[in-house]
C-alpha cells in the first residue's frame, strides 16, 4: 500500500513542482520576494524575543502591552473565520451558488489562521511555554485559552475537510469536517471578541458589542478575501473565471453589500453609545472621531472599510469583477487598520484617567517599531506565499 502511495505520490509531487517552476518570471519573482520577506520577518521576531528582548525591539510598553502584532493576528484569524463562513454557505449548508468556492476557500482559511499563528508566535514572550502550559494548565475561564484552543482545533478540522475535498467520493466526510470547522471557527472568533469584551477594566472594549461585531466583521473580511484571491488566482493560472465561479462571486458581492450596510448601523450606534458612556470610553471614541486616530477612523475605517467598498460593490452590480476586486483591495487594506485601531485605541486612555492625576492626564501613544513591522510583513508574506504555491500545487483548485 505504502509503495503504491509512494508511486502515485511521486509523479504528483513532480507535476506540482513543474507547475510551480513553470509559473513564469513574475510568479517566481514574487515567490522569491515573499520567501525573503518571510525569513526576514521570522528572523526579526526571533531577534526581538530571544536576543534583544521584546521590551527593546517592540514598541509596546506597560500601558500599551499589545498592539500591532496582536492586531495583525486578529486580522488574519478573523479573515479565516470569514472565509470559512462564506464558503461554508455552499459546501456545508447547501447554498449552491457558493459551492465552487469550497476548495480554495478552505485552503485559504487554513493559510490565514497559520499566518496569524506565525505572527502571535513571534509576539508572545514564551511561545514554547505556551505550547506546554496551554495543555497541562488550562484556564477554562480564560477567553484567550478558548480562542487559541478553538482556532487550533479549527486548523485540524479544516485540514481534514480540505483533504476530503481533494479526494473523490468523500463528500459526506468533507461536509462533517466542514461543519465542525465552521462551528469551531465561529466559536473561536466570538471568543476572540470576548477577549476584549470581557475586559471590565477597559470601558472602550467592555460589553457585548465586540463578540457580535467580530462575527459580522469576519463575514465582510471573508467576502473581501475570497474576491481578492479568486481574482488573483485567475491571473496566476492565466485562465478566465468559469461561469459557476463567476456566479459565486456575484453572490459573495451581494452578501458583501448587505453586510456592509449592517456594519454602517453597527458603527453608528457604537459611536453614539460610546460617546455618552463612561468618560474613559468617550475619550477613546473622541480620539477616533477628532483626535490622533481621526485619519485612521474616517479615511480608513469608515471610508475605506465601509463606504467606498459599499459604493463599488453596488456600482459593479456584482458583475464587474475588476471593480469588485478594487473594492476588496480597499476593504482588506482598511480592515487591517481597523483592527489596529480597535486594539490600540482600547488602551490609549490611561486606566486612572478618571482619577484626574498628573501622571495619567494624557492619552498614551503608540508607533510600531521596525521589528514589529517586519514581523507583520513576514506574516503577510507567509499568507501570500502559501496562496501562490497553493494555486500551483493544487492546480488552481480544479474540480
Amino acid at each position: 500500500m505504502a509503495v503504491l502511495d509512494k508511486a502515485l505520490l511521486s509523479p504528483a509531487i513532480k507535476a506540482a513542482y513543474n507547475r510551480v517552476a513553470s509559473g513564469g518570471r513574475l510568479y517566481l519573482s514574487l515567490v522569491i520576494i515573499f520567501v525573503i520577506l518571510l525569513l526576514v520577518g521570522i528572523g526579526s521576531g526571533i531577534y526581538a524575543l530571544f536576543i534583544a528582548g521584546a521590551r527593546h525591539a517592540y514598541a509596546t510598553y506597560r500601558e500599551i502591552p499589545v498592539a500591532l502584532l496582536i492586531s495583525t493576528y486578529v486580522f488574519f484569524v478573523v479573515a479565516s473565520t470569514g472565509i470559512c463562513l462564506v464558503s461554508s454557505l455552499g459546501h456545508v449548508f447547501g447554498i449552491k451558488d457558493f459551492s465552487p468556492l469550497a476548495k480554495r476557500s478552505v485552503y485559504l482559511a487554513i493559510v490565514t489562521i497559520l499566518s496569524g499563528f506565525l505572527v502571535i508566535g513571534l509576539e508572545i514572550e514564551h511561545p514554547f511555554r505556551m505550547a506546554l502550559y496551554n495543555v497541562i494548565s488550562p484556564n477554562f475561564s480564560s477567553n484567550i485559552w478558548w480562542m487559541g484552543t478553538l482556532y487550533s482545533l479549527a486548523v485540524v478540522f479544516l485540514t481534514a475537510e480540505f483533504i476530503y475535498l481533494l479526494r473523490e467520493g468523500r463528500h459526506k466526510q468533507a461536509v462533517i469536517a466542514g461543519f465542525l470547522g465552521v462551528v469551531t471557527e465561529v466559536a473561536a472568533n466570538s471568543n476572540l471578541g470576548a477577549v476584549f469584551a470581557m475586559m471590565n477594566g477597559r470601558p472602550f472594549w467592555y460589553g457585548p458589542y465586540f463578540p457580535v461585531y467580530f462575527v459580522l466583521s469576519a463575514l465582510i473580511t471573508g467576502c473581501a478575501f475570497i474576491i481578492f484571491f479568486v481574482f488573483l488566482a485567475q491571473k496566476i493560472n492565466r485562465k478566465a473565471i468559469d461561469n459557476a465561479t463567476g456566479r459565486a462571486l456575484e453572490s459573495v458581492g451581494k452578501l458583501a453589500v448587505l453586510l456592509l450596510a449592517i456594519m454602517m448601523v453597527f458603527t453608528f450606534w457604537k459611536i453614539m453609545t460610546t460617546s455618552v458612556g463612561s468618560p474613559s470610553a468617550a475619550a477613546a471614541m473622541q480620539a477616533l472621531l477628532t483626535g490622533p486616530y481621526a485619519f485612521n477612523f474616517w479615511v480608513l475605517e469608515i471610508s475605506g472599510g465601509i463606504i467606498i467598498p459599499f459604493i463599488l460593490f453596488l456600482v459593479s452590480r456584482q458583475k464587474n469583477l475588476t471593480m469588485m476586486f478594487a473594492a476588496s483591495v480597499i476593504l482588506i487594506f482598511s480592515i487591517f487598520f481597523t483592527r489596529l485601531d480597535m486594539v490600540v485605541v482600547g488602551q490609549i486612555v490611561p486606566l486612572y484617567w478618571e482619577l484626574g492625576v498628573v501622571e495619567y492626564s494624557q492619552l498614551h501613544r503608540y508607533m510600531p517599531s521596525v521589528a514589529e513591522i517586519l514581523v507583520v510583513l513576514g506574516g503577510v508574506s507567509f499568507c501570500a506565499l502559501a496562496f501562490l504555491l497553493g494555486e500551483k500545487i493544487f492546480d488552481g483548485f480544479k474540480k
Binding site: 521584546a54 514564551h126 487559541g148 482619577l355 484626574g356
Partner: protein
C-alpha cells in the same frame, strides 16, 4: 443595636452582600437626611461624594481568606517622599523599567488649602481579579489561603493579557524573572519568611500604609475600614473587581 457584621464566623464562603450593602446605604442616607446634611446647598458635592465614597463592599459578613491580607492607605498623610517605592525596589528586586507601587499626584488648583495630593497605588489583590480570569495558563492565581494574587513564573507565557485586564496598571513584564511581575504584598521576600509587615508600609514615615488582616476584627485594617466616621473608598469600584486596597482620609 443589632450587630450586622459577621466577625468572621462564616469565612468559608464569600457571601454576596448586596442586600446588606443596600441596607447600609439606605441607613447612611437616612442618617444624613436626619442630621440635615442634605439641606446644606454648599456641601451638596460632599453628599454626592459620600454616596459613592464609602467602600461598602468592605462590609462583608465574612472574608474568604485567613489571613485576608489588605491595606488601608491614609491618603492625606502621603508626602510623596517615595520611601515606600525605594523599599519596594530594594526588597523585591524591581528593575528600573518597572514598578510594583508608585505615588500619583493630583493637582487641584481651585482648592482653598493644599493644591496637590498624593495617591499611592499598587496591586489591589482583588477578590474578583480580572487578571486571574484572563490568564490562559493559570500562571497568575488567587492564593486560596491568604488571597494574595500570586505569580507562578514558569507557567507565564508572556501573552500580557493580564496586563490588559488589570484595571489598576499593576503589572509589567520582568525580563529577569522571564514573567509578569506584580506586588505580592512582599509574600516571597517577607511574609513567607515570618515577617508581619510589607516593606512599603514599614518604610513609610507617615504611617500612610496600614497593612494587615482584614478578617481580624481587632486589627487596625478592620477597624479603619469598618467605621462610618471617615470616608473609606476603593479605586475604580465600578469595575467590580472587589479590591482589597482601601483609601481613607482624615
Amino acid at each position: 443595636m443589632k450587630d450586622i457584621f459577621d466577625h468572621g464566623e462564616n469565612r468559608e464562603k464569600e457571601i454576596p452582600e448586596i442586600p446588606l450593602d443596600r441596607e447600609r446605604r439606605e441607613f447612611l442616607k437616612m442618617g444624613l437626611v436626619i442630621t440635615g446634611v442634605l439641606a446644606g446647598g454648599g456641601i451638596l458635592s460632599l453628599v454626592s461624594n459620600v454616596k459613592n465614597a464609602y467602600a461598602l463592599d468592605a462590609f462583608r459578613s465574612g472574608y474568604p481568606y485567613k489571613p485576608h491580607y489588605a491595606m488601608v492607605l491614609r491618603q492625606d498623610r502621603c508626602i510623596d517622599c517615595k520611601r515606600c517605592m525605594d523599599a519596594c525596589v530594594a526588597t523585591n528586586s524591581v528593575p528600573d523599567y518597572g514598578w510594583r507601587t508608585m505615588i500619583l499626584k493630583r493637582k487641584i488648583p481651585q482648592s482653598v488649602d493644599q493644591i496637590m495630593e498624593f495617591i499611592p497605588i499598587l496591586c489591589n489583590q482583588c477578590n474578583n481579579p480580572p487578571c486571574v480570569r484572563t490568564c490562559p495558563t493559570r500562571a497568575t492565581y488567587k492564593d486560596k489561603i491568604h488571597g494574595i494574587v500570586m505569580m507562578n513564573n514558569k507557567k507565564c507565557i508572556g501573552c500580557k493579557s493580564c496586563m490588559m485586564a488589570c484595571p489598576y496598571n499593576a503589572r509589567y513584564y520582568n525580563e529577569a524573572r522571564k514573567a509578569i511581575d506584580k506586588c505580592d504584598f512582599c509574600f516571597e521576600t517577607r511574609l513567607s519568611r515570618g515577617l508581619k509587615n510589607v516593606a512599603c508600609a514599614e518604610a513609610c514615615p507617615a504611617d500612610v500604609r496600614v497593612f494587615g488582616d482584614l478578617s481580624d476584627t481587632a486589627g487596625r485594617v478592620f477597624q479603619m475600614v469598618h467605621q462610618l466616621q471617615k470616608p473609606v473608598w476603593v479605586l475604580r469600584e465600578d469595575v467590580g473587581a472587589k479590591p482589597n486596597i482601601f483609601y481613607t482620609k482624615g
